[in-house]
Amino acid sequence: MNRIDRTFGKLKTEKRKAFIPYIMAGDPSLDDTLTLVKLLEDEGADLVELGVPFSDPLADGPVIQEAASRALGRGVTLRKVISTVRMIRRSSNIPIILMTYYNPVFRYGLRRFIEDASSSGVDGLIVPDLPPDEAAELLKESRRQDISTIFLLAPTSTDKRIRLVSRASTGFIYYVSITGITGSRLRIDRHLVRMVRRIKNFSNKPVCVGFGVKKPEEAAAVANCSDGVIVGSSIVKMIKEKRGSLRKYIRDIRKAIDGLV
């Protein structure tokens, strides 16, 4: 049982929903990443998703694409992100999930990557361009190091896919709320509620929802029908444009998820 499982265990007992903010590692700098993770934790994040910059992020919208190219421009690499996690671990126990495209991992060497990630304190992985069908080796190595493998489901997923993805996922299942890329507009409708329920028929693992969650009231609605809320693009945008408002925004999302608004 790793930090992710313990966190969801605790949330379940407390009848609370997870808040999972996403930031791009190294945007604007890796030092800032340390400060930002601290801020997120202080303001009530349960887990943190750390994006690894990649030259061709095809599942991401413009906000995260631009953040990735800023980070790459500053020389941020997968290796450096792993070192940053090691530094975060000196003072924090918050579960950390790396979101990285597959090629940097492949290039690093899958086995060595999982070992290094694990020893530095990474708890889980999201690889958006690696469906479970292609992930046999990643699964094997991750199990060995007790790293969670979080796979995605989408509105287009068939029962067959839901079964496969739920089985391969550990930690939680990531439901992509819309057909689209990160930062698209969210639609909270019957479809979302029904789909989360459908996934839960196949698995008792937590289901968290992301892609397009921006306003606190959206976070509240999503929390209402799932086990957790992932917020990415709007945080990344705020870090770039009005960082002074970030703390309050995170606090507001937290409150909304807890049903306190």
Binding site: F54, S55, D56, P57, L58, A59, G61, P62, Q65, S69, L72, T77, L78, R79, Y102, N103, P104, V105, F106, R107, Y108, P128, D129, L130, P131, D133, E134, F151, L152, L153, A154, P155, T156, S157, T158, R161, V165, V176, I178, T179, G180, I181, S184
Partner: protein, 399 residues
């Protein structure tokens, strides 16, 4: 020897696969099923073949290039004249096949990426023919270089979407097309233009292009009474090469794929994935890739937009490793020389992409005895490149 390397689904040896966001997996499964059903469907095959004949203008001739052969003083050179197809390049074979398939699948809209504009024009043509909406993604850099093709696509009723991000070229256009497909997957079919990307595209595109090889085989048997000794084709993604090669893989025929050597491998300004790349996973499949130490994709350079791409079809990666096909490259300079040579000697202006294959023939033919036979795939015509070449040569043009 295992020549085709089909084993695990969607793989050629260790290359290929389906590395895409989950949202697209059901669409790729649906596409695979539809394609498998239709390729055995007699009515679809008849419709497609009729279009290839009456609309595309197939079979394209296999032309004996007498003056080029005499000039080089060695092997006999034949040109497979894909430049004579409707819209001027082999791209139409695949675009039409996929447009027809999308229509049968009940899709309302086609999207595609394009670099030089040839695949964009072919897809816009296919969309007009079968009556589907069409949007083409094109990097801003390429739009500037190929303004005429932009207008051509618009004339055909397509909307050209500018991609102003990344390197503003083909790979960014593919990223945007994949993002569009992810968003509109229920109504839209993505007409990928080459033997690349997630399964089933590499197999499906090869299938639609295999008509090139089937015709060439028949034609060379008629002309020479035997199979050729060499096949030469340029390799960007590699669809014209796979189209030609696929009919000869089990024969005693040597094959050469020619990549874009750009300004030379050592300058780093090229698109020679086999000479300068390593194995990676990019835009849906595992293959050879130009990448840095950390797995980020490198910029590429070629005088021809159609070869200016960081990765290469996975089946080519397999054929490279198995040694069945030999891969080499031609530099910009060599391609430009071949472009002019073929124009002057044969009255045929080749596409700059195809000029890379001609450049290899220019190197190879003089070293071979006169009774040897080479087929060069002349994948497209050079009209689109005339203005570009004039600019390079310092001739001012308003085109």
């Amino acid at each position: 020897m295992q020549k085709r390397g089909k084993n695990k689904k969607g793989y050629f040896g260790e290359y290929g696969g389906r590395f895409v966001p989950e949202t697209l997996v059901p669409a790729l499964e649906e596409l695979e099923t539809a394609f498998r059903g239709l390729r055995r469907n007699r009515e679809f095959t008849r419709e497609f073949n009729n279009l290839l004949r009456d609309y595309v203008g197939r079979p394209t001739p296999l032309y004996f290039a007498r003056r080029l052969t005499e000039h080089l003083g060695g092997a006999r050179i034949y040109l497979k004249r894909e430049d004579l197809t409707h819209t001027g390049a082999h791209k139409i074979n695949n675009a039409l096949g996929q447009a027809l398939l999308a229509k049968k699948m009940g899709k309302k809209r086609l999207i595609a990426e394009t670099g030089a504009g040839q695949h964009g024009v072919a897809t816009a043509t296919g969309a007009a023919l079968v009556g589907l909406q069409c949007e083409i993604y094109m990097g801003s850099e390429d739009m500037k270089r190929q303004a005429l093709n932009v207008f051509r696509m618009e004339l055909l009723g397509a909307r050209v979407r500018e991609v102003p991000i990344g390197s503003r070229t083909l790979k960014d256009a593919i990223n945007e097309a994949l993002r569009d497909w992810t968003t509109n997957v229920r109504t839209t079919h993505y007409v990928l233009g080459t033997v690349f990307g997630p399964h089933p595209f590499p197999t499906m595109v090869r299938e639609f292009q295999s008509v090139i090889g089937r015709e060439a085989r028949r034609q060379i048997l008629r002309a020479e009474g035997r199979l050729p000794d060499y096949l030469i084709a340029c390799v960007g993604g590699g669809s014209n090469a796979m189209g030609l090669f696929s009919a000869f893989l089990d024969d005693d025929v040597q094959m050469i794929g020619v990549e874009a050597g750009g300004l030379g491998i050592r300058t780093g300004r090229h698109a020679a994935r086999f000479a300068g790349g390593s194995v990676g996973v990019f835009q849906g499949c595992k293959s050879y890739l130009l990448q840095d130490r950390d797995g980020n994709v490198l910029g590429t350079h070629s005088v021809s937009a159609g070869l200016d791409y960081a990765s290469v079809g996975p089946e080519h990666a397999f054929l490279h490793d198995s040694g069945r096909v030999q891969y080499t490259y031609a530099k910009d300079k060599e391609a430009l020389r071949a472009f002019e040579l073929l124009s002057k000697l044969e009255g045929i202006i080749p596409a700059l992409e195809s000029a890379h294959a001609v450049a290899e023939a220019v190197k190879l033919a003089p070293k071979l005895p006169r009774d040897r036979v080479i087929i060069v795939n002349l994948s497209g015509r050079g009209d689109k490149d005339v203005a570009h070449v004039a600019r390079i040569k310092g001739i001012v043009t308003e085109i």
